[in-house]
């Protein structure tokens, strides 16, 4: 067979048209998923509000106007009313979003970094390495999540930073487990053997070959985890172990005004709704990402 002839025949093989790049394609998929889009919009609104808080907030979140205390929403120019010290609730919620987003992202980053490396190493090497790491993880999982967090905060001392560390550490086991499971699945794939046969070392195989393939479930978990971290930090602040007054933190806002729940519903309800929306946004986006980030689920 001559060169030209071979080439002609190959030309007849099905040659699919070039497709757009990975990110363009992902974006397209995302726009078609309504729930994920709703989540993304909610998160975007909160993020924008957080970034431009000084511009978006009508008042200083810490400024007290005692005569205007517990003003109902939509009266006297207070869109969402005021709390028991006369602070503008809308401004506090906007500034609170800043703190909550930072907590969510930082604590998930901490747990991703810790749990991710542990899970990757355990799943890749298997054997006794896996057994040791996973038993430690099992012990951590045996503690009730909130108890573990409280213990860590109690050791480190109550502050916002320590709350993030505590949430990061106590969320870490789930990332380790999820990533380990997917790494174990990928490890046996042909392309890993193929790449090993090309002289790739363990480190590259782990982080460069396997990790991107095994990451999709963990990314979903992480997106959901941001929502949960926001919820946990609100819980910690509610218990007085996270943010300290007068920081405008959503959980703390609920805690400090809980005695007004019967007389002024908005001071408790509105920060609660903010928490709900933020967590919902991350959950919707997380679910959508699961379908989108996996190239094998594409046509």
């Amino acid at each position: 067979m001559s060169d030209n002839m071979t080439k002609e025949i190959i030309e007849e093989e099905i040659t699919p048209p070039a497709e757009p790049g990975f990110w363009k394609e992902s974006w397209y998929q995302l726009t078609r998923n309504r729930a994920a889009m709703a989540g993304l919009i909610i998160i975007s609104v909160f993020t924008l509000m957080a970034i431009f808080a000084p511009l978006a907030a009508p008042e200083d979140p810490l400024e007290q106007t005692i005569p205007a205390r517990l003003t109902a929403p939509f009266t006297d120019g207070y869109i969402l009313g005021t709390d028991d010290l006369g602070r503008d609730l809308l401004s506090r919620i906007i500034y609170g979003g800043r703190i909550s987003l930072i907590i969510g992202v930082v604590s998930v980053s901490i747990s991703l970094a810790l749990g991710g490396v542990l899970g990757l190493v355990a799943g890749y090497f298997g054997g006794w390495v896996d057994r040791v790491i996973m038993r430690v993880i099992d012990i951590m999982l045996a503690f009730p999540y909130i108890l573990l967090t409280i213990v860590i905060v109690a050791i480190l001392g109550p502050s916002l930073m320590n709350a993030m560390v505590a949430i990061g550490i106590s969320q870490m086991p789930r990332y380790a487990r999820v990533l380990r499971a997917s790494v174990m699945g990928e490890r046996e794939q042909d392309y890993v053997l193929a790449e090993r046969s090309l002289g790739t070392n363990n480190f590259e195989l782990m982080f460069h070959t396997i990790l991107p393939n095994a990451l999709a479930p963990t990314m979903v978990q992480a997106t959901l985890g941001v929502g949960e971290a926001i919820l946990s930090s609100a819980g910690l602040s509610f218990l007085g172990l996270g943010a300290q007054p007068p920081t405008p933190e959503w959980g703390l806002m609920i805690a400090s005004s809980k005695q007004f729940i019967t007389s002024a519903w908005w001071v408790v309800t509105l920060p609660g709704i903010a928490i709900l929306l933020a967590v919902l946004g991350f959950n919707l986006l997380g679910d959508g990402l699961r379908d989108i980030l996996d190239p094998r689920l594409r046509d």
Binding site: T6, K7, I10, I14, D190, L198, P212, N213
Partner: protein, 332 residues
């Protein structure tokens, strides 16, 4: 052997499983010369792939154990080489192509990036230069419009194209010495099979490498190989130049394999193809005798007791059988 590229002496590989010890490869001797195509033939589970993986030291250990043997590659013993040196040999001087082009490429990287990766690992090239080299290789394996294809993900390519990309990846080295092709065409349809084999032969000439072709398809063997080694249940039973083996098989198993082909002389006017009776023995319970004894038409009592030493029929024709088919050429 003057120009030996790869020499395997007395290689035994076992797998220690919960059910017992599986002797996947037993006392295997094999030689590949520079620039030669050796076909390793046998049915599923006969130890072909394990042999290939042993050469590149990719047998999973545990449960795999290399019980004995020496694997020489250009004079160095691969089995005693430190892992680091072995790694730099893999993909540069010994490379592999796998059976399943559908799953042997990393789904999250473009094929260009994956081929470039080999250059980056072994030659420490920069990203841009490596990618340019990758595109050149894709052109070499006759992928149309290589610059564009290099930016494709594996799932956007057809099976034949992926296998070409795999071959390009295996070629991504300055001096490939040996390419191991582990059933490279099994997963492809027949027209693409022919193209891939054609391509492999062409590249082999062009690059001057040796090819270890693992297959169970005698048709593929006839088309591409210079020499054939037949394996059965972990043992090499016959080893000969390809014309000699097809014309003059001495081991009953080889004759049986050839008899299964539609084009075999004995089948020319037959209504049904001949087949080998029985099935492959369980590798867990294999005794000392010839593993083929329970299916062999020419079985004698000593076949049950010991595995025959290898005998020579002519200069390069080696076989292991107590009661071989006479050298006249008649196969049944």
């Amino acid at each position: 052997m003057t120009d030996e590229l790869l020499g395997i002496d007395n290689l035994s590989v076992s797998f220690h499983t919960r059910r017992g010890v599986v002797k996947a490869v037993r006392n295997l001797n094999l030689n590949i010369r520079e620039g030669e195509t050796l076909a390793l033939v046998g049915e599923s589970g006969c130890g072909k792939s394990v042999t290939a993986h042993a050469i590149t030291r990719l047998v999973p250990m545990p449960p795999g154990v290399i019980e004995s043997g020496i694997i020489r590659f250009r004079g160095t013993d691969l089995l005693s080489l430190p892992e680091k040196d072995m790694r730099s040999l893999r993909g540069s001087k010994i490379s592999m192509i796998f059976q399943e082009p559908m799953t042997s490429l990393n789904p999250v990287f473009t094929i260009g990036a994956q081929i470039a990766e080999v250059f980056i690992t072994h030659e420490k090239l920069g990203k841009k230069e490596a990618f340019t080299r990758a595109v050149e290789l894709l052109d070499l394996v006759k992928i149309p419009d290589p610059a564009k294809r290099a930016k494709s993900y594996p799932h956007q390519l057809s099976g034949g194209m992926r296998q070409r990309a795999m071959i390009a990846m295996a070629l991504a080295s300055p001096e490939p010495g040996l390419m191991i092709a582990d059933e490279p065409t099994t997963a492809l349809d027949v027209t693409i099979q022919a193209q891939i084999l054609q391509l492999l032969s062409e590249l082999k000439e062009r690059v001057g490498m040796a090819l270890l072709l693992i297959t169970h398809d005698m048709g593929v063997v006839a088309e591409t190989a210079d020499r054939v080694a037949v394996m059965y249940a972990g043992r090499k039973v016959e080893d000969a130049p390809v014309e000699e083996l097809f014309a003059n098989p001495r081991h009953p198993y080889t004759a049986g394999l050839l008899g299964c082909q539609c084009s075999a002389p004995s089948n020319q006017n037959a209504a049904r193809l001949t087949s080998i009776n029985g099935s492959v023995p369980d590798l867990l319970t294999l005794g000392e005798g010839c593993p083929f004894a329970n299916r062999c038409d020419n079985v004698k009592s000593e076949c049950m007791e010991s595995f025959p030493d290898s005998s020579m029929a002519g200069e390069e024709h080696e076989f292991s059988c107590h009661n071989p088919i006479s050298g006249s050429g008649a196969s049944s």
